[in-house]
């Protein structure tokens, strides 16, 4: 490698930090002067590279895998989301390597966006991959669901060691049939919880309609999520069942915890003697959602939950996981590029569960699309105000003394956090 890659890259990184810039510029510089930098640096890791991909829950799951591995004493390199994937990873590497280009880590766990998957795995074949789900998401960017499944299949095909698959998502589980050399591990759900996980295929099937004929028997899973309580969960693995406290809320987050556990067990040897099961479980009980993936704040002494909704499956899961009873509700829908411009997805979500309590406030650039959607589901609507700041203020004023919940798209969540930081403590994100 050019001897100056790391020193030069680090200088650019420092300079762009001073100017308050992001991670893209230093990553771009390294990419230009030394395109092999990323592959070379990552290939020195003793446990190799693990990638996490799928439509929903990548960020939180990646964070969980990192925390689980750290509980086993591993040094983990990981990426922050946001900037262009390859450049983001290159920039993050620059921050971590020493001046001679050595990365002090045992394993890399990377969140891999479907859009960047092919390019990345072709240049850095991962040792492990975790494929979460294929759901309708941002279809205006990727075209079609089947295409997303093909991208995930490509990631699996390029993986050299272990492929971890969601047993309950037919498009993901089916990937196993296309693999030859890799070890396949599944994470799964108890049948009693399947009802809370509609996939896009049975979204419109009549309730209770039989499964399509000819489906093969489900393979056995390394980790199965058996039960979800108010703040506990029960997982089954290694032939036993363990119950643990959980900080995570929402069944789908906890299912992703089962996914993270499966991958972490794959990396640190699963049932191997040197795995410390107690610290692993302790870490699992402590994981919290990643930034921007839903969080609980306190406003005027009452909880205020932010629930990120970015596609129909996520919205449906959010409504199921967070029952409306006792809460004042606001919905904030933006259609900026990062949210997806297409509003069709609101019509793939059923809002009956909000009928009893109604929705107190609607906001965002597509507040009236949301109002129209609720009108057709016979849900009572309080006020509609597209401008987020006054809408949020009115919502908080109107729901004094009540717990509050806001369902919001990505850029709406950013705007709401900004407003909330003026009146309460909101975690600062670098």
């Amino acid at each position: 490698m050019p001897f100056y890659t790391v020193p030069l890259g680090k200088l650019v990184r420092r300079a762009s930090r001073l100017r308050g810039g992001g991670s893209a510029l230093p990553g771009l510089v390294v990419e230009k002067i030394d395109p092999g930098f990323m592959r070379r640096t990552l290939s020195t890791l003793p446990h190799g590279v693990a990638v996490v991909s799928g439509t929903n829950g990548k960020t939180t799951t990646t964070k969980m895998v990192v925390e689980l591995l750290e509980s086993q004493g591993l040094k983990v390199f990981t990426n922050r989301t946001g900037s262009n994937f390859t450049r983001g990873v290159a920039a993050a590497l620059l921050g971590e390597v020493d001046w001679r280009g050595r990365l002090d880590a045992d394993v890399a766990v990377l969140e891999l966006d479907e859009a960047h998957a092919v390019h990345f795995v072709n240049s850095v074949p991962p040792k492990y991959c975790l494929l979460l789900n294929v759901l309708r998401d941002q279809l205006d960017r990727f075209g079609e669901i089947d295409k997303t499944a093909q991208l995930l299949q490509h990631i699996a095909a390029k993986t050299t060691g272990t492929v971890v698959l969601n047993r309950e998502d037919p498009r993901v589980a089916r990937i196993a049939e296309t693999l030859t050399g890799q070890e396949v591990r599944y994470f799964g759900l108890d049948d009693s919880l399947l009802g809370t996980f509609p996939n896009d295929d049975d979204m419109r099937a009549a309730p209770g309609s039989p499964a399509p004929a000819g489906l093969p028997e489900k393979p056995s899973a390394d980790v199965v999520l058996r039960k979800v309580g108010a703040d506990t969960a029960e997982f089954e693995y290694d032939g036993g069942t363990v119950s643990t406290a959980m900080k995570l809320r929402g069944v789908y987050n906890i299912f992703n915890a089962a996914a993270a556990l499966t991958l972490a067990r794959g990396i640190c040897g699963g049932a191997a003697a040197d795995t410390n099961h107690e610290t692993l479980l302790e870490a699992l009980s402590q994981v919290a959602p990643a930034f921007g993936r839903g969080e609980s704040l306190t406003v005027e002494g009452q909880p205020l939950d932010l629930v990120l909704v970015k596609n129909p499956s996520g919205f449906r899961l959010g409504l199921k996981s967070f029952p409306a009873g006792g809460y004042a509700t606001m919905i904030a829908i933006n259609d900026n590029y990062a949210d997806g411009r297409d509003m069709s997805w609101l019509w793939d979500v059923e809002f009956d569960s909000l009928r009893a309590g109604g929705v107190d406030q609607l906001t965002g650039s597509r507040a009236y699309d949301m109002a129209l959607r609720l009108q057709y589901d016979d849900v009572r609507i309080g006020a509609v105000e597209p401008d987020i700041a006054p809408a949020l203020a009115a919502f908080i004023r109107g729901a004094k003394g009540q717990p509050k919940r806001i369902f919001c798209t990505y850029t709406a969540m950013l705007a709401i956090r900004r407003e909330l930081s003026k009146i309460t403590t909101v975690e600062v994100v670098s």
Partner: protein
């Protein structure tokens, strides 16, 4: 806004002016980007106009429901189109008869294409349509995606969202639904969007189409009621949210 107006809240009561039966074509395989919303809008507006809606699903292999007053169908993925292909061909004659007879129909995207003469893929293979609409579609590498505004003589300004790579050209037997004011529509050359033939409205627009374009929903309902009962007695649906959603949608970027 008040919540007391019909159609603004409260489970809407069914009306006594008679039953209108809506048949959804292949909702299991051809239902993407919210096309289900079209069926929901028909169901609710039939109610708000004082009639009783009956919503039936027709999927591959089902017996075809009798007495369809309105037929709706949506878009699908390539895999969905393959699944319904044979079944749709087997239904071609009876659907054609219903269409010629004046049954109001709404077909979006994938089913719009398959209601045409054929779909020729990029690789040159030809998927036959059922030939109700005099249109043909050619697969391309280019995906046409984004907000669309269409000027129509029948329904005023029509708003929606397109997402397709097939490009459709109209023959002499149909007329366009309208002219594109923003977006692409049927194809990237002639500025037309959708097709009209007898009481069929065909369009590429998702969004869903009907919620923000109640004029099209009411055309389908009025036509169905007139055919069945000799006259349509409209109710007074509250379309204030629809108006506001239209105003805001029209101002959003492509």
């Amino acid at each position: 806004m008040s919540q007391e107006t019909p159609g603004a809240s409260g489970p809407s009561a069914a009306g006594g002016k008679g039953i209108l039966r809506v048949v959804q074509l292949y909702p299991r395989d051809m239902n993407i980007y919210g096309d289900w919303g079209n069926a929901l809008v028909l169901q609710q507006r039939i109610r708000w106009h004082g009639y009783t809606p009956e919503l039936l699903e027709y999927n591959v292999g089902d017996p075809f429901p009798d007495d369809a007053d309105i037929i709706v169908g949506g878009g699908g993925q390539d895999s969905g189109q393959l699944v319904i292909q044979d079944d749709l061909q087997a239904r071609a004659d009876s659907l054609k008869e219903l269409a010629e007879d004046g049954t109001p129909m709404l077909v979006i995207c994938g089913l719009y294409q398959l209601f045409g003469r054929f779909f020729k893929t990029r690789t040159g293979s030809v998927i036959p349509g059922i030939g109700i609409l005099d249109v043909e579609t050619h697969g391309t590498d280019e995906r046409l995606i984004g907000n669309v505004k269409v000027t129509t003589s029948e329904f005023g300004e029509v708003l929606g969202y397109e997402n397709h790579s097939g490009q459709t050209t109209l023959g002499d037997g149909v007329r366009p639904l309208g002219t594109v004011a923003k977006g692409t529509g049927n194809n990237s050359s002639d500025g037309h969007e959708g097709a009209r033939y007898r009481n069929i409205v065909a369009s590429y627009l998702h969004g869903s189409l009907l919620p923000k374009n109640p004029a099209i929903a009411d055309f389908l309902i009025r036509t169905a009621a007139e055919r069945k009962f000799g006259a349509f007695e409209p109710g007074l649906p509250d379309d204030r949210y629809a108006e506001l959603a239209r105003e805001h949608a029209a101002r959003r970027p492509r």
